[in-house]
């Protein structure tokens, strides 16, 4: 099976071909927004980090920005800096450049302020988009797909239909030599023994259990019952009673392939096949983590209808709920509700999920892209703002 993508100098393959405009720090978000608004063919990534944080978190910001810049869906990158942030600007530039792509940067405090930086950035972005537009899609094997997996605004139907269907699609992709990334460690709680039994060896199994232990302790350190936070109020309204129940539905996305490795947030999944990545369950942080790890397409199961996409990685929304398919029609790409009635089966639905992944990877637009609903992103932080 093949898809039509954009080959990059480092061997990765893009499913989109944007010039990325990245904020180095929260203080330049409005500059980044203005440049991106003005130049078609750009995609922006803004967030709320990069200053007044612990060194651990600044390290995470640097790593995430490098990963995002290297993502093959970006042809080239402009990093916008204020000039006094904690983010390691030169480190980020050098990190992205290692992928062989063009990286430019703009420092607001050197150029004369926001307006002048926007003017300079718009002209630079126009020139870079012109260059990017010369790239043509070419056929590549689907082994070049790195598929991020996520479920959000879940209800009971998520665990019954779209998550197991994504599991089938993941198995088929892995069989073809591709990569799929399972995140949302909070939603392993209560189901980690099953995931650990899918690990290819004891080291990986221990890695999965350690991740879950770390996430659960982080949640418990607050000294409260995590219910209400996880499962969310919406999950409970949808019929999910406990985090264990939510997790058992969520891990169905893993399918049956062996888990090859465990990665930190935003780390590139070198091992290939099915891998686990540390990340929380909330959309802005996990979608960013998947994109920073190099995902060139994301599948997203939803029960009640979660609207978010990602600025430069297509996010395919899949539901098993007829209600969501109707009440959130603006956001749902695939409706698999026929499985509930027994008119469709999980294996057939899973094959169609992979077909859609390949079509979207080749250029078919998702609802999130059509509506431009994808800019409220952030980077996962561990510590406080100080």
């Amino acid at each position: 099976m093949e898809f039509m993508g954009y080959g990059r100098p480092d061997g990765q393959v893009g499913t989109r071909n944007f010039v990325g405009i990245l904020s180095a720090v929260v203080c330049v978000n409005e500059v980044v927004e203005a440049i991106a608004r003005q130049v078609q063919g750009t995609a922006r990534f803004t967030h709320h980090q990069g200053c007044c944080q612990t060194p651990l978190d600044i390290g995470l910001v640097n790593k995430a920005l490098i990963g995002l810049g290297k993502n093959p869906n970006l042809h080239s990158v402009i990093v916008v800096s204020l000039g006094c942030e904690s983010t390691d600007l030169q480190g980020v530039i050098d990190g992205i450049k290692a992928s062989g792509k063009r990286v430019e940067h703009l420092v607001v405090q050197e150029i004369g302020g926001a307006t002048r930086t926007i003017a300079q950035g718009v002209l630079l972005a126009q020139e870079m988009v012109g260059e990017a537009s010369k790239e043509q899609r070419k056929p590549f094997p689907i082994s070049k797909l790195i598929m991020g997996m996520k479920c959000g605004s879940s209800d009971t139907s998520s665990g019954l239909v779209p998550n197991p269907a994504i599991g089938v699609a993941s198995d088929l992709l892995v069989e073809a030599g591709g990569t799929s990334i399972l995140g949302e460690v909070t939603e392993f709680i209560g189901a980690e023994h099953i995931l650990a039994s899918h690990a290819k060896n004891k080291e990986v199994a221990d890695g999965i259990l350690a991740l879950v232990d770390r996430m659960e302790k982080r949640a418990m350190a607050v000294g409260e019952d995590i219910r209400g936070g996880q499962p969310t109020g919406g999950n409970i309204k949808g019929g999910l009673t406990t985090i264990e129940e939510k997790s058992l539905g969520a891990i169905a996305k893993a399918g049956s392939a062996p888990i090859q490795a465990v990665y930190e947030y935003g780390e590139f999944p070198e091992a290939g096949g099915l891998v686990v990545m540390d990340s929380p369950g909330r959309e802005p942080e996990i979608l960013t983590g998947l994109a920073a790890a190099g995902a060139n397409v994301i599948v997203f199961a939803t029960g009640r209808g979660a609207p978010q996409g990602f600025p430069f990685v297509p996010v395919i929304k899949i539901t098993g709920s007829q209600t969501a398919a109707e009440k959130m029609i603006d956001h749902i790409d695939m409706n698999l509700a026929a499985v509930i009635d027994g008119d469709d089966t999980i294996p057939d639905a899973g094959k169609r999920v992979l077909d859609r992944v390949v079509s979207v990877a080749s250029g078919e637009v998702t609802k999130a892209e059509l509506s431009g609903y994808f800019n409220a992103m952030d980077i996962f932080m561990q510590g406080p703002v100080i």
């Binding site: 009971t156 709680i189 189901a191 409970i236 509930i340």
Partner: protein, 100 residues
């Protein structure tokens, strides 16, 4: 095949409604290829669970063949099984605080 509810594994003691169910309704509950009628004792919203067997207080709640929590009250067959009578056993920082 129109069904009202589904039981995912034969060991499970709760069923999941896949339609909005009305009190007193005989719910066609699917377990594998079998349809088992269960009279629901309360309105059960779509996506919510009801006891597929009589469940005693303190008993584990089983779905997907796995433990999803513990009953905090008796839940007779056909009654709504949710946060009012099931507690989670994980992520309970509140319990840890009481023990400390």
């Amino acid at each position: 095949m129109a069904i009202d509810a589904i039981v995912l594994r034969s060991v499970d003691n709760v069923a999941t409604a896949v339609q909005n169910l009305k009190e007193g309704q005989e719910a066609a509950t699917r377990l594998d290829r079998e349809l088992i009628p269960v009279v629901v004792g309360q309105d059960i919203p779509y996506g919510h669970k009801f006891a597929f067997r009589d469940i005693k207080k303190g008993e584990n709640i089983l779905k997907y063949g796995e433990v999803i929590g513990r009953a905090t009250a008796d839940i007779p067959r056909g009654m709504h099984a949710h946060v009012q009578n099931i507690e989670s056993l994980r992520g309970r920082g509140d319990l840890q605080k009481e023990e400390a």
